[in-house]
């Protein structure tokens, strides 16, 4: 896909569809380690090993009856084409941790794209999910908790939609502050 944010939208949506009540998105960008990684951890319904093997295989037969998403095969392709990999660890009833890694300097790597917008839209679209977004670069790190929005809703007595722009702005400012100068 054109932006890694679209992959993130896809995999976090999977977590929400798996009935997670808590989702952690952790992004790590390091020029020094030549690594760009996306980790999503949820406490949703989880998958068996057979299921994991099936969902990363683009030809699995359940997909032939109705064209289900190619989300995970495309993410795996994106990672491997950038010298990285897709790892999925999961336990039924416990949750899933998915990590997509990329070589930071790979020319094939799509830009991250609109991550602030993606995160805020995901939070607004799933008000029952506690969402934590963390982002680290060589210059520093920050976290954004969905509680940021709910605390201000109570404080300002406004709807969550009033907080979309302020939340995006908050995240974008933090992104600026940890932007690599390298």
């Amino acid at each position: 896909m054109r932006e890694l944010s679209l992959h993130i939208l896809d995999i976090v949506t999977n977590s929400i569809e798996a009935e997670a009540s808590r989702v952690i998105l952790w992004l790590e960008e390091s020029v020094e380690k030549n690594l760009f990684s996306i980790t999503v951890r949820d406490n949703g319904r989880g998958m068996s090993q057979e299921m994991i093997d099936a969902v990363i295989d683009p030809f699995v037969t359940t997909r032939t009856t109705r064209p289900v998403g190619m989300g995970l095969p495309l993410l795996r392709q994106a990672a491997t084409s950038c010298g990285g990999e897709l790892r999925i660890k999961s336990r039924i009833g416990k949750g899933t941790t998915l990590t997509a890694s990329f070589l930071h300097n790979s020319l094939n790597r799509s830009p991250l794209g609109g991550i602030a917008e993606t995160v805020v839209n995901l939070i607004i679209g799933a008000p029952d999910v506690h969402f934590l977004y963390g982002h680290r670069t060589d210059a520093g790190c920050f976290t954004f908790d969905s509680y940021w929005i709910y605390a201000r809703m109570a404080e300002l007595d406004c709807s969550q939609y009033m907080l979309v722009e302020p939340a995006q702005k908050w995240i974008m400012e933090r992104l600026q502050s940890i932007a690599s100068t390298a």
Binding site: M1, P58, F59, T64, P67, M70, S81
Partner: protein, 98 residues
């Protein structure tokens, strides 16, 4: 590489962005790409495309070609670049997909 029965061709698209093809290309299209990945063949199957043409001599892995054979999707590997392949198809009267 993989053979198919006679089929109509609706249009032609050139793209290396698989998610775009997944979203936009109509059935019976020919897809020109340099991505020789098994995901290309899986998408060609879901989208009921007529053929995939790999540019600049790209060739998918053998097990991906086997999958295309089973799914009856015609695969071509062509030494020309996308521009020249598209040019030839254009002169045959074919037009773009989207």
């Amino acid at each position: 590489m993989a053979s198919s029965r006679e089929r109509d061709v609706s249009s032609v698209c050139i793209s290396d962005i698989l998610s775009d093809v997944m979203a936009k290309v109509p059935r019976d299209a020919i897809w020109i790409t340099n991505q020789a990945h098994e995901n290309v063949i899986a998408i060609a199957f879901f989208k009921e495309l007529t053929a995939v043409i790999f540019t600049n001599g790209a060739v998918p892995a053998m097990d991906a070609i086997d999958k295309a054979n089973i799914k009856k999707i015609a695969l071509y590997s062509c030494d020309l670049n996308a521009f020249d392949i598209a040019g030839r198809l254009y002169t045959l009267g074919l037009r773009g997909s989207y």
